[in-house]
């Protein structure tokens, strides 16, 4: 059963995610983009690149500049997700890479991610604004992350006798398959969204934001 969870189930889940992602990309491309007929004033390509890198440049947005801790949470949290997913394939396929040092680093980041996502769940439940804008999918996705990071932390020890180990693989598989149907599908929409943001505002010369002399 554990072997099935570690291998076949993971790949089935990954296949579902891949298939739905491909379908989603085709679905997005079915919609015609707005056609721009005006001559550009700015640099579209530069703006598109800047738009993609906005998350790596928190100083470029007032929201991330002022709430730098939220940006830090975001960064650690997403690194944690990447690590937890990568580990779910490293453990069964390349356990030799999971050295003591790697496991320690993974555990630190996953632990930090756990507390961050717990904080985010709390915010959704108690902050008036976040509460108001949250739907069941928002709560469910974040709650699943809390559980996932919790079991992932212990699963990094690769002790198959701990209940967290099979739970980690089961939840990973579930999440991978669930992602395309949830808010977590922003992974697939985000590159398109940032591309059009950069293209639109870059065309008008308003992005990247202007500072300085004429």
């Amino acid at each position: 059963m554990l072997e099935l969870l570690k291998h076949e189930v993971q790949y089935v889940a990954l296949s579902i995610m891949g298939l739905v992602y491909i379908l989603k990309v085709f679905w997005i491309l079915r919609f015609k983009p707005m056609k721009e007929r005006t001559p550009g004033r700015g640099m579209e390509k530069k703006a598109i690149i800047a738009s993609f890198f906005c998350l790596a440049m928190p100083w470029t947005m007032e929201s991330t500049r002022k709430k730098w801790y939220k940006w830090l949470e975001f960064a650690v949290f997403h690194i944690g997700i990447a690590i937890a997913i990568v580990a779910s394939f490293l453990i069964p396929e390349a356990p030799g890479l999971m050295t003591a040092a790697v496991v320690t680093i993974f555990k630190i980041i996953i632990a930090m991610s756990f507390f961050i996502v717990l904080l985010r769940l709390g915010r959704r439940m108690f902050s008036p604004v976040n509460k108001l804008i949250s739907h069941p999918d928002d709560y469910f996705s974040v709650a699943m992350m809390v559980i996932w990071f919790f079991v992932a932390f212990f699963a990094m020890d690769m002790n198959e006798s701990h209940w967290q180990f099979p739970a980690y693989f089961a939840i990973t598989a579930f999440l991978i398959a669930y992602v395309p149907f949830s808010k977590m599908s922003h992974y697939i929409l985000w590159p398109f969204s940032r591309y059009y943001f950069g293209k639109h505002f870059g065309h008008r010369g308003t992005y990247p934001k202007v500072k300085g002399e004429l």
């Binding site: 738009s51 947005m61 929201s63 804008i133 739907h135 808010k183 922003h186 008008r204 004429l214």
Partner: protein, 584 residues
């Protein structure tokens, strides 16, 4: 609820929503993760701390349709992802309150969204689907109607427009002491075809006068249309009506082509610039052969090439600059006004935050025509008021007529004691040119005004005395009234040629007097110039626009804000009486 149970309008709005989805829209609708990072970028939220003013919440009121009809999971389990329907007419009404009443589509949240959600696009989509069903603030509906039927947003007839231009020609000739100075109409093959905001014709001719002065001194070859095609504003942008947007754009573009102009220049109007230069070519599906610029860009060129010379000592008062949203976030114009102000004023002070991070004047998105939301607008203006106060400047310059109105309102409401000017006006004031000394022939002016009688209605005796003295010194006869009763007692025995009316008066307010005047057969043809401020206690009640819409009253012939600038008031009175005389 099934589709059959929906009201007809709700069904049509839903169908319209489905048809409006393009790639950018589905991405902006779909990518939001409800992180709330946009929340503190919105002035409505910052001023009220009301969670329902958070941009993500407001966008979700429209997004629910996307979730229900387009989202993969939402089609099966809409409630799970926040999907929902428009079911009743009341839902459209409720949506109107959000998309029109609590968002100016300033795009500040858009620029602060890590996901790249263009919430203004979502709000405009929301506006579009309900506007098509007749759900929009009355002011928006009326202005849109005027643009469709008359070709400009203030319903100015060709006759009135031409008379104003004629009057402005006299002013510019007099100011520059040059008979060749004028606002040329329908002149073919010019370098510039100029399109303006109708407010410049109706209420704020000083800015058109300033532009005419700058063009003249720069030796520019320019012209304006004598009929439709001079209005650069476009309520298609605010109403979400791309057809109206295309119509207004086409009027202006056709004018440029008909006159064989080399370029189109829009006067200082934020949304007018955005709509004309960036949006309408797309709405009209038109590939234009001529370039389009903001007047700000043209002025910068004049200064840099030495076509106009500026003397900043002529503007000694400290000046700050407010970035209109449609220029800074949607139009790419942030440095030009700063360059011009640094060249034309002694003490330029930056406002913080500025450029694309600046806050909305709170009058954007057509908010100034939505009197039903005036109270909320002014409440949200606290953020802008704090920003302005922080600068300590005496003048707030901006490059948008809408912003002028929005800022003027909030400055009065929060008692900031600042003045608002357009950049072009300050540039015009700073222009150095050889002017022959003009010796006003007072006797001639007095003689010209002598046949006219102006009635002053204001509850404050000091103001009545001040205005009466001002008018008498200019040669007018005057009648004075400090209440409605006094005013109507006078009107039984005398018929003034013009009435100046204060709106905020105890008891029978100026609005009631205006209504009675304009519905009274004997007096309704007397032109009225409203002279008023804003009542901080209840701005909505004293809103002239609201009264007009509710009682189908004509617009006042003139409008002057308090504190009164004598020259401006006399110029407006002169203009109105001149027009009145021609009509008679």
């Amino acid at each position: 609820m099934s589709n059959r149970q929906k009201s007809e309008k709700a069904q049509k709005a839903t169908d319209s929503f489905k048809n409006k989805m393009n790639r950018q829209a589905i991405l902006s609708f779909g990518v939001c993760v409800h992180c709330g990072m946009c929340t503190e970028s919105c002035h409505y939220y910052l001023a009220t701390r009301d969670p329902k003013m958070a941009p993500a919440y407001k966008a979700d009121r429209v997004r629910k349709l996307y979730k229900k009809y387009f989202d993969f999971a939402g089609r099966l389990l809409p409630k799970w992802v926040g999907g929902g329907e428009l079911e009743k007419d009341e839902d459209l009404q409720e949506l109107m309150d959000i998309v029109f009443g609590s968002c100016t589509m300033c795009r500040r949240c858009t620029f602060n969204c890590p996901m790249g959600v263009d919430k203004a696009l979502l709000m405009r989509t929301g506006r579009a689907i309900i506007y098509e069903q007749g759900y929009a603030p009355q002011g928006v509906l009326d202005v849109a109607k005027d643009q469709w039927e008359i070709g400009n947003q203030m319903g100015i007839s060709d006759e009135d427009y031409l008379e104003t231009i004629e009057w402005l020609n006299e002013e510019i000739k007099s100011e520059l002491d040059d008979d060749t100075a004028e606002i040329p109409l329908d002149k073919p093959n010019c370098n510039i075809v100029f399109a303006v905001n109708p407010r410049e014709i109706k209420y704020a001719p000083m800015s058109l006068l300033a532009a005419a002065k700058i063009f003249h001194v720069a030796g520019e070859s320019w012209t304006m249309s004598s009929t439709k095609g001079w209005d650069n504003t476009n309520f298609g942008l605010f109403a979400g009506d791309n057809k109206l947007g295309a119509h207004m754009g086409n009027l202006v573009y056709d004018t440029v082509e008909k006159l064989n102009g080399k370029m189109l220049v829009t006067s200082e109007c934020g949304h007018g610039y955005r709509a004309t230069v960036w949006e309408a070519p797309n709405w009209a599906a038109r590939d234009l052969k001529f370039p389009m610029y903001s007047f700000l860009e043209i002025m910068v060129d004049y200064v840099k090439t030495g076509r106009i010379i500026l003397d900043k000592t002529k503007n000694p008062v400290s000046v700050t600059y407010h970035d209109p949203c449609n220029l800074a976030r949607s139009g790419g114009i942030t440095e030009e006004p700063r360059f011009l102000l640094q060249q034309s004023v002694m003490d330029f002070r930056e406002m913080y935050p500025n450029r694309a991070d600046n806050f909305c004047c709170t009058g954007g998105g057509g908010a100034m025509s939505m009197s039903e939301y005036a109270k909320r607008r002014l409440e949200s203006a606290k953020v802008k008021a704090d920003q302005l106060k922080e600068t300590g400047a005496g003048i707030c310059a901006t490059a948008c007529h809408n912003c002028v109105d929005g800022l003027t309102d909030l400055i009065k409401f929060y008692k900031l004691g600042m003045k608002v000017n357009l950049v072009g006006e300050l540039v015009a004031d700073a222009i150095v040119w050889e002017k022959k000394p003009v010796i006003p022939v007072i006797e001639e002016v007095v003689e010209a005004h002598a046949p006219f009688t102006v009635m002053v209605i204001d509850d404050e005796p000091d103001v009545v005395t001040f205005l009466s003295t001002l008018f008498q010194d200019s040669g007018y006869n005057t009648l004075e009234a400090t209440s409605a009763a006094e005013a109507f007692a006078w009107l039984k025995t005398a018929k003034p040629d013009l009435i100046t009316l204060d709106l905020i008066m105890p008891g029978v307010s100026g609005l009631d007097i205006y209504k009675d005047l304009k519905t009274d057969g004997a007096n309704r043809d007397i032109p009225v110039v409203v002279i008023s401020g804003v009542n901080p206690e209840n701005p909505g009640l004293y809103d002239m626009r609201k009264l007009q819409f509710e009682h189908s009253l004509p617009k006042p012939e003139g409008y002057v804000e308090k504190p009164i600038v004598k020259e401006e008031l006399l110029m407006i009175i002169d203009k109105v009486l001149d027009h009145y005389k021609h009509k008679k």
